[in-house]
């Protein structure tokens, strides 16, 4: 039982990092990305590759994974952010699909469909974190670190710039803000921080494959952010907890067909998304105020 709870808690921490970073661009900048799972995956594969070929030290694998994600997102964001938000959704959807194909085919780096197995344990200050139960500590610390970074950024002038762009891009331009650079920066930061979650995931499981980085995952992460509440700092955490705990809750409901838990979970958060958009678009934590049409 304890092992089960520790496992759940660790996964919640990892997903919470992803939800926080997705909220940073979705809730604060208004950038709708459906490709967040790809950066999660890129971070995971990079960390695994470094661990298996270079060093298992967490202070090398994670920074390298972050740099790779930052670079890739920079290359993709620069052109993609020049277009209107609606087109960016389509572009990110495209990126997600192409990304999954690349992950499935690039055997050298990702092991193809089989994935990467036998990822060695991460080493923190020379101490190998082998026991999964011990992993909760680094996962939790990472969550705190990411949450702190995001909070500081959100409350700064950069955070205000992001929100300005979200609320009225044309007014932001009229104030002399270089919207393209601001958006690109936010995407790069978000991707780099997501790499941390990817690295943690790779070390924790010891093996990764493309199934964890599909469109379903991206949508699940979006659901966490939307249900918890966009544009708030606590919202994504709440969303992560709720959506990670949901499958367990459903499996306790004996009257539900156990083989369909996955489908039931998806129906649950699909329904939540629809109802929230009608009645409370700000999410559970977000403001319930109906937004005035400007």
């Amino acid at each position: 039982m304890l092992a089960y709870i520790l496992n759940l808690a660790t996964l919640i921490c990892i997903n919470a990092v992803l939800a926080l970073t997705l909220n940073f661009i979705m809730g604060y900048a208004g950038i709708f990305s459906m490709a967040h799972a790809i950066f999660f995956g890129l971070g995971a594969y990079t960390a695994a590759y470094v661990a298996m070929h270079l060093s298992v030290s967490i202070f090398l694998t994670i920074p390298i994974a972050m740099c790779v994600c930052a670079l890739v997102s920079l290359v993709l964001a620069l052109p993609a952010l020049r277009v209107r938000g609606e087109y960016f959704v389509a572009a990110s959807l495209g990126l997600q699909v192409i990304g999954v194909t690349v992950f499935s085919e690039w055997k050298f780096f990702t092991g193809g469909i089989g994935g990467v197995i036998g990822i060695p344990a991460a080493s923190v200050f020379g101490f190998d974190v082998i026991d999964p139960a011990q992993f909760l500590l680094p996962a939790f610390i990472s969550l705190i670190v990411v949450a702190t970074i995001i909070t500081i950024l959100s409350r700064s002038s950069f955070g205000r710039n992001l929100q300005a762009i979200r609320d009225s891009e044309s007014a932001a331009y009229a104030m002399g803000k270089n919207v393209a650079v601001i958006k690109t920066l936010s995407v790069v930061i978000s991707s780099a921080l997501s790499a941390i979650a990817g690295a943690l995931y790779a070390f924790y499981n010891g093996f990764i494959n493309v199934e964890s980085f599909t469109l379903d995952t991206s949508v699940l992460l979006m659901a966490m952010v939307i249900i918890g509440g966009t544009g708030t700092l606590v919202g994504p955490l709440v969303g992560a907890v709720i959506l990670m705990v949901l499958p367990s809750v459903f499996s306790y409901m004996w009257f539900l067909p156990q083989t369909e838990i996955g489908a039931i979970q998806q129906i649950a958060y699909g329904t939540a998304m629809v109802l929230l958009m009608i009645f409370r678009p700000g999410g559970l934590i977000g403001s319930s105020g109906k937004q005035a049409k400007s």
Partner: protein, 290 residues
Amino acid sequence: MLVVQLFINGIQSGALYALIAVGFSLIFGCTRIFHFAHGATFTIAAYIFYYLYSMAQFHWVLAVLASTIGAIIFGVVLDRWIYAPIQRHEGSFFTVFVASLGIGIIVQNLIGMIFGRGFVSVATPLSESVELMPGLFVAPLSGLAIICMLVFFFALQVFLNRTHIGIAMRALSENPALVRIYGLNPRHLSTMVFAIGSVLVVPAAILTGAGSGLNPAIAHHVMLISLAATIVGGVGSMKGAALAGMLLGITENFALIYLGPQWSEAVTFVVLFLFILLRPSGFFGRAIAN
């Protein structure tokens, strides 16, 4: 000969894609709603037909009718009871999109629970290929797909250009306020747009069921194609969406053979990506001011 075969296969898929894409383009162009659940409409229509014709052994005419009615009801209900309330309160593009996404997820999983996640297909003699020439296999389905596309597009053209309501629908995308001045209700027009857009999906759904088969996740593929064709063809241009849909069908089939099945979907997206970056207005779209 392989090239000709691929081309013919491509036209078969392309015709169906064109229908789907025009449906989506019509809805998006007139109402500016990112109707992600368009894929769900397809899935519902396809599975209704599959259930009634293949499983319950009803006559195909009844199955087609039920499919059509199902698609229309779904589209209209979505517009009236989901999209409209959202637009009344806040109506930002993303809020509507998220709700549509949610509906898509619900439908996909419900269908999966009811019919299972594997591939099913409708058995019909129409899908049996005939060897026209050595190495060239064509099924009556291809011809049917093309005929459907032509018939529906012709009807749509006539409707949009010659009827009062059709012209009003086109005006809706330009200026909803103007529509009100002429005594028409934008809400009612919007509902009509959804009804028609959803009907366009039905022949594609049925023919796909008979041809390549169905599974609940097919909504994703439908959505991806609709999106790609609408953008590549140009937002607001149904001709563009149809043309792009056709081209995507052909490209996909060629990619299937020359690049392998894993890449055929990705190729569609590479094309989409390139257009978004280099020519966001697509083939015929209005120039997008940023």
